[in-house]
Amino acid sequence: MTKTQTLPLKQETDIVIIRQRVRKAAEEARLGLVSQTKIVTAASEIARNALIYGGGGQCLIELANRDGRAAVRLVIADQGPGIADIERALVDGYTSGSGLGLGLSGSRRLVDEFDLKSQPGAGTTVELWKWK
């Protein structure tokens, strides 16, 4: 597998493909089974957010290195309406749609580093890190 790959995120089936690729990358980075499942689940959450609320975008998957440890880095970006109140969006149970409201906050707990950048009208970019 290449070290970096960018996948489109336009339809529901793209999420399935992203999950599979992230799992593969996590296996390649030799993450433990629990860590693999966590980063895959986080990718699934964020990708679905980008698709449903952001109208689609793309997902970058990278086999990276963090302080000498093998890591998987994901950057999921959309060009949607953005998030007005990031702090509120990260509260457990808050949703602007019909979900459980745990996608963003839950994903933050699933990964080792979570970085959310968003501006109203300028889309949302989420960076996720999971290392060994």
Partner: protein
């Protein structure tokens, strides 16, 4: 003008070109396991006719309407070949092998002093057609892939009756499609039909449980509860359990068991069924 000149030349030598083209194809190798000689001949003849027709309209711009019938024909051909299992290069070779007989023909026309122009024209034309055929071939392949993706998503998951009053749904694969909805609805339907008290939802075969999957599960469990049936979730693997906890999903008072067998045992116990082995 060289385009009309070329059209005239091709028209006069149509049979000869066709023969040579076919032998060039044979030399490159025809997949007789996928297509028979008759079809190859018919396809080649039709395509050559379409080329001549397009050229005769003196259009050297491939986007011009004169080229439409030819493109349509090429599209049909390439898409069919994609479905029949031809490789991309085999599909392209069909078109590219037209070059040799055309070059040869032009070379023999010593009366023309613009042979280089004609060769260049033919070269551009055949290259373009080759690219088109590859593009259409890819489109055909993509259509096949999409169909397969959809049929995979629609793989139905059966609701099975394990015991009088006990149903089970072994869920398999990604659960974030409409498929989940269908499965869950059929479970509720089956609960009514069989008047079951207990439904076991087995997620051993579900690779990822995210909030959407969890939400689907919780909704189904609530709906089943309203209908007087209890649900047991089985097959939660350790890594899935850890993930659910970190996600913050509350399963509330949902009964969970690590395996389908355990869930089945529990349901028999709740129904006051005792299995008795043969005493020896």
């Amino acid at each position: 003008m060289s385009v009309s000149q070329l059209a005239e030349l091709l028209k006069q030598n149509e049979e000869q070109i066709l023969d040579k083209w076919l032998s060039a194809q044979r030399a490159a190798g025809i997949r007789f396991d996928l297509i028979d000689e008759r079809n190859v001949q018919d396809n080649s003849r039709d395509l050559l006719k379409a080329v001549i027709m397009a050229l005769a309209q003196d259009a050297d711009d491939f986007d011009a309407p004169a080229w439409k019938p030819l493109k349509a024909q090429l599209e049909r051909l390439s898409r069919t070949q994609a479905r029949q299992g031809f490789s991309a290069s085999e599909t392209a070779t069909f078109v590219f092998s037209l070059k040799e007989p055309l070059f040869e023909l032009i070379q023999n026309q010593s009366q023309y002093d613009n042979r280089v122009d004609l060769v260049w024209l033919v070269n551009k034309l055949v290259d373009k057609l080759g690219l088109f055929s590859v593009e259409y071939y890819m489109a055909g392949r993509e259509a096949v892939i999409r169909e397969q993706q959809e049929s995979l998503l629609e793989l139905s998951t059966p609701v099975v009756q394990l015991w009088d009053g006990v149903l089970a749904v072994p869920l398999i694969g990604a659960l974030d499609s409409n498929r989940t909805q269908i499965v869950m609805e059929s479970l509720l339907q089956k609960i009514v039909e069989t008047e079951s008290d207990i439904a076991i939802i087995d997620i051993t075969g579900v690779p990822t449980v995210d909030t959407m999957v969890a939400q689907h599960l919780l909704k189904t469990i609530t709906a089943a509860k309203l209908m007087g049936a209890r649900c047991i979730i089985s097959g939660i693997r350790p890594q899935i359990a850890a993930t659910i906890v970190h996600l913050g999903v509350e399963l509330g008072d949902v009964v969970t068991k690590s395996s389908l067998a355990d869930a089945f045992k529990l349901s028999l116990k709740e129904l006051n069924v005792r299995l008795v082995g043969n005493a020896r």
